[in-house]
């Protein structure tokens, strides 16, 4: 069922947009002959956008599932590590100092650097401990610091238009993303997924607490390093390209969990798939909902996600 949803989301994501292109013409445009304008729309505009939506959504869903399992907290979501704020700060710096205008790759590159810097700070802060709780605290500190940096940029922005540019970037969007963005984000996302894969059993063991997990052969220190790296690089790469897209990482694991045996390992890949489908569908919604300014993706995921989330919680009659 998840697979079907994913397929539908992917097809809609390529097929729907402000220009209507019938299926037959779309296929012929994709495979060589056909109208060059339609081909350009499909390949240059919609395809990268669809790929990014799927990849970023998968990363956010997976990260949320991993973090909830690792921190053993149903409220955890990728932004608690502070690296998404770090990435946002990097991107905001690019906008603030006008570096973004020098080259289109500057903004995501600075975003990724921001994520890595905040990861280094996080690792320095949690160097001496093995516990997951210290990560939450250090993550909040890093996130708050980066958040303060963003506020500072808004505070000092020379004119309302600059502030507007920063704010609207922060809302998160996949508008006008090209294959250049895809090539920047994909390596980060792939590395993130690679590092997070194969941690399911260790996460399961952690559901009995850290001592029990260690006694079952889990190397807590190595596991933490691996998860932190994977999450920061992956989420940082995603935020650097799309801006902050909230709620996907928080909600998706909760939506998926009732259909599994509720162990942390069982929700990892379903969360990735559901995250991809959800974000791609939200991006389709962005395009079809009529509005004067195009709606921002982060806004739509929040409006779409929260009611679904609440309905789901009420139906489950428990908070996790």
């Amino acid at each position: 069922m998840l697979g079907l949803a994913l397929l539908a989301a992917a097809l809609l994501s390529v097929g729907v947009g402000s220009t209507e292109i019938p299926v037959g013409r779309a296929l012929s445009a994709l495979f060589g002959d056909g109208d060059p304008v339609e081909r350009a729309i499909l390949v240059e505009l919609r395809l990268p956008r669809a790929i990014l939506a799927l990849a970023v959504g998968a990363m956010l869903g997976l990260s949320g599932a991993v973090l909830q399992g690792y921190l053993r907290n149903p409220l955890a979501e990728p932004s608690v590590l502070g690296t998404s704020n770090g990435a946002a700060l990097g991107a905001v710096a690019a906008l603030y100092f006008g570096l973004a205008d020098l080259h289109p790759a500057m903004l995501p590159l600075l975003g990724i650097s921001g994520a890595l810097l905040s990861l280094i700070l996080l690792l320095l802060l949690t160097r001496r401990s093995e516990s997951a709780l210290s990560i939450i605290l250090a993550g909040i500190a890093v996130a708050t610091l980066a958040g303060a940096g963003i506020s500072l940029a808004l505070n000092l922005s020379p004119n309302p238009f600059a502030a507007m540019e920063i704010t609207s970037w922060l809302l998160g969007s996949l508008e006008d993303r090209s294959f250049r963005h895809v090539w920047l984000a994909l390596p980060c996302l792939a590395l993130g997924v690679l590092l997070l894969a194969g941690q399911g059993r260790a996460l399961d063991a952690l559901s009995l607490g850290e001592d029990a997990a260690a006694s079952m052969g889990v190397d807590l220190r190595r596991m933490r390093l691996r998860l932190l790296l994977g999450l920061s690089v992956g989420v940082g790469g995603a935020v650097a390209v799309t801006g902050a897209i909230g709620f996907v990482g928080l909600i998706v694991p909760h939506l998926v969990r009732p259909y599994t045996d509720r162990s942390p390992s069982a929700i990892l890949w379903p969360s990735a798939i559901a995250g991809a489908a959800l974000l791609a569908l939200a991006d389709v919604a962005v395009r079809v909902i009529p509005s004067t300014n195009e709606l921002k993706l982060g806004v739509v995921t929040a409006f779409l996600g929260v009611p679904v989330f609440l309905a789901h919680l009420l139906r489950e009659r428990r908070l996790w």
Partner: protein, 256 residues
Amino acid sequence: MVSLATENLGVRLGGREVLGGLSTQLPAGLLVGVLGPNGAGKSSFLKALAGLLPHAGRVLLDGAPLAHMPRAEVARRIAYLPQGQTLHWPLAVERLVGLGRLPHLAPLSRIADSDRAAIERAMRRTDVAHLAQRTATELSGGERARVLLARALAVEAPVLLADEPLTSLDPAHQIEGMEILRDEARAGALVVAVMHDLALAYRYCDRILLLDRGRLVAEGPAGDVLTPGNLAEVYAISAFYGPPAERLLVPLDRLR
């Protein structure tokens, strides 16, 4: 046959010495009770035996220092049941007990028939087989304690370290718990259990380690360790003793 030994074992937590100069030899086939007042260092001792705490001195598993052994190997040879019934997700009982097989699973392999048999054995031993499909977080405290004990038994390791496995069990299940631990020892395992119940320890344990303020006060058969003198010194209590053949001890009054 498995054996655990400590040489001059010391543990510091938060700059304070919680355990010091502890040397002992624990051979297979024994049910060892670790007793002592709150804060005596019992749990730290057990964690150090499991290789979970940085320590001074040495812990030897079959003569080899535990500190140099790969984590995965220790996990297959020492099962550890922590204090406090921690369980963070609402897993089904069978799934939870199955976590005990994690040390035996190779990466990417699926759970095998032998694992499933071990899970079933462990659930039968602790009398939780009928709860297999229930959600563990919705069980009573006693049921949950038995399920978590089953998780530790499912490891089927030659050493079982249990930190207060009997808390929140009713008398019948407490006695059953002691019987399970004793049977494990009879079957050739080394079982070390932190306990508070003097009567059960006196009755069931083959050997008692009595700790007080981080030191090993006395060690030996229950009759030699839980003497009126030691109880007065360590717990400041008196006790009633039944006839020697009955192995009966009832704590009575506070001294002073």
